[in-house]
Symmetry: C2
Subunit: 436 residues, 2 copies
């Protein structure tokens, strides 16, 4: 059987990784796929560098349109990134009847519905395993491995940059800015790290996972997004003393009121396996009603781990390229006619537990006032930590862990606490999940 022909848009780190792995493991991959998979055309603005990477056997062009319009090409891999030209070329490829593989979470989290609709109408596949958690086959697990389950919730460490920073902050007791600089020096954070450290990248991925877990449209604009830039070393330390570790989690949860879709720093019990995922590694914990909790762990970024996911998609498509679309897994796991419009809850309606740190005057009665405000708000306290003031200091910290309550309830209580004369500054609030 002749090889399937692939065109590659963008040959940066992941593109080069894909090209190299496909070449290196060509034999192993064809033994599985039943036919060869061959990149025949590459488009990249830096034609000279691209030519150097791919050698003479593969055509290199500057204009991506030449790839998506090439009648010899069956599958287009989009590794350009962003929503501009990438979106344009993906839609053109689909219109031309080509299958698409993409690692572009931003594109899919924002324009996924439009792209999947176009693919559906045209009868082609758009595969995106590489868009979430790099080389970990989490999209496959959610779309296929756990189909028996009503998925209850997903909680993932899905951004390696922030997990590296948090691991370093905890390990070495350093503050955010210092560690960010180190991460940039080591290549774990980009020159402009905004998308990572502000939680946007994790929210793109959580949005995609929520869609395929619950059968809802892709709705990035409804996600609550909080990064780690305001996280202080002192809270990491207090959390540790209370038996918790702080991770940036992407959370998607089904509740009777609607779907929670949120990214924020989260305290999780240190004894959970996922709490021990350190450095730039990723892990996704999925709770299904039949299977219980399953966890998927691995490298969430990097040239070859991401290439591993891109190529897995290529093999899947190679198998089903000329099959009846009914034989394929639906783009968003659920049949297009079977999607639901369960609402995504605003953060004020979310129910979770909380870590609260308040700087207080070292005076009699302050604790009584705080606890009575919480009691009035029907917020019950799960654990408390009060530090002795340092010698000569008149200020100290009270740390409280609450049981589950609604966010707006906690916000109202915090306002009242901050109005107390014995509370000497803002209350720090970090959400807490038991993940059990």
């Amino acid at each position: 059987m002749k090889s399937i022909k692939v065109g590659l848009l963008g040959i940066g780190t992941v593109g080069a990784g894909t090209f190299n792995v496909l070449k290196r493991n060509q034999e192993e991959i064809s033994r599985r796929a039943g036919r060869g998979i061959e990149i025949v055309m590459v488009a990249d603005l830096d034609v000279a560098r691209a030519k150097e990477l791919v050698g003479a056997q593969c055509e290199v062009v500057k204009d991506g349109n030449l790839v998506v319009n090439n009648p010899d090409i069956d599958i287009v891999i989009e590794l350009i990134g962003g929503y501009g030209i990438a979106k344009d070329l993906v839609l053109k490829a689909i219109a031309n009847g080509k299958h698409v593989v993409t690692a572009n979470k931003a594109l899919l989290a924002i324009h996924g519905d439009e792209i999947f609709k176009a693919a559906q109408d045209k009868g082609v596949m758009v595969a995106y395993e590489a868009a979430v958690a790099g080389g970990i086959p989490i999209i496959k697990a959610l779309r296929e491995g756990l189909t028996a389950n009503r998925i209850e919730w997903i909680a993932g460490i899905i951004n390696g940059t922030t997990n590296f920073i948090l691991s370093e902050m905890r390990d070495k007791g350093l503050d955010f800015d210092t560690v960010l600089k180190e991460a940039q020096r080591l290549g774990y954070a980009e020159a402009d790290p905004t998308f990572d450290i502000e939680g946007v990248d994790a929210a793109h991925k959580a949005t995609l996972m929520a869609a395929i877990a619950f059968g809802i449209p892709v709705q990035f604009d409804k996600a609550h997004v909080e990064g780690i830039t305001k996280l202080e070393a002192v809270d990491i330390r207090y959390a540790e003393q209370l038996g918790y570790r702080i991770k940036l989690l992407g959370i998607a949860k089904r509740t009777p009121q609607g779907i929670e879709l949120r990214v924020h720093p989260t305290l999780i019990p240190t004894k959970r396996l996922i709490a021990n995922v350190e450095g730039a590694m990723n892990a996704v914990l999925v709770q299904g009603d039949a299977v219980g909790a399953t966890l998927y762990y691995g490298k969430g970024a990097g040239a070859e781990p991401t290439a591993s996911a891109v190529i897995a998609d290529l093999v899947d498509i190679t198998r089903l390229a000329d099959a009846d679309p009914a034989h394929r897994v639906p783009h968003l796991a659920f049949q297009p006619h079977a999607m639901t419009d369960t609402p995504i809850l605003p953060i004020s309606e979310v129910t979770t537990s909380y870590y609260l740190r308040m700087p207080v005057a070292d005076e009699v009665g302050v604790l009584a006032k705080v606890t009575s405000i919480l009691a009035e708000s029907t917020i019950s306290i799960d654990a408390m930590l009060q530090k002795e003031p340092a010698p000569g200091e008149t200020q100290t910290d009270i740390i409280m862990l609450t049981h589950q309550t609604q966010e707006k309830n906690v916000e109202a209580a915090i306002k009242k606490i901050e109005a107390l004369s014995t509370v000497l500054g803002k209350v720090t609030k970090i959400r807490l999940e038991h993940l059990s």
Copy 2:
């Protein structure tokens, strides 16, 4: 589209779980699969109990032949277990052109080649996600999620009973027999626990994983199988002091000389995520050349976790039931014509590290003699622990961790060490893997 019709052979724990989950999540599952999946006939020796479980809407028969010969049935689920009647019925179902889902690792590890060949010839699917690690979609990850990779090795905690026992032995400092009784009382170990505690069950699963990872035939008879029955509490304690935890691992490794396929108690560094998989949980660590290490964790047994895997297979088959076989994933991940006959190495040819404990007389010079034997055998020492003898005792333990060497080399050295007059008993040998 009308429902796909399923026949169920054996409605014990997993069968009942499958029936219940399929009923409870019928709507969610059809939203994914695109059509209903309906169990229309159940065969079980205990007809009365089966009738009670499934109600009036589903026919119950005593003879499994009525299921595999039923022309209305598209898929047969085999949950009888064992190699006798289960094999017979599976082959009959295949001969009748029915697809098969089975959780029967013993059957596939021993007769898999024959069964897959028959299915291949007949153009039907035999799916077995539930045969390895219960609800964890590890077969899907290996067969589809990691297709880009040359798999280098797999190491799995794939038997919940033994992991529960080892966790309890370590946690409570108890010996094997005591914990086994507790495990039986709690339902974590069967009345006849032989297959679990002797490593046979784990070896069945490791055999299947080796086949799909490396594209080799299923060869249970070549696996090296060692259980945990001889493991002593003292070694768990010493391992802990040296920074290691002892787990029963199923290991499949590709080496230039051949494939290693082995199940045995193994020291692994405590800091590895997989070392912290406790109780009856399962986890499989896979090393691929592109993706690096990925880990898959969850419940490896139980009614609904196993049902989760059975139903995922049902959904996969439902999608591809009437597709051209070329569109399907090959049974053993590699195309039948592309399998290799890479030999499986005997245990004497395996290369790994070792934990050695030797009871010695508390005399000058004993350590020198032991280390010189190891040096002569070119076995180098990575770490050592020598306990002070207890007051009034003249005997003590020396514990050594070696660097990598061949098993036969270690065996020869142990013979020489045991022949020393200052060595007062057998040397305890436990293999050690760094998993990095």
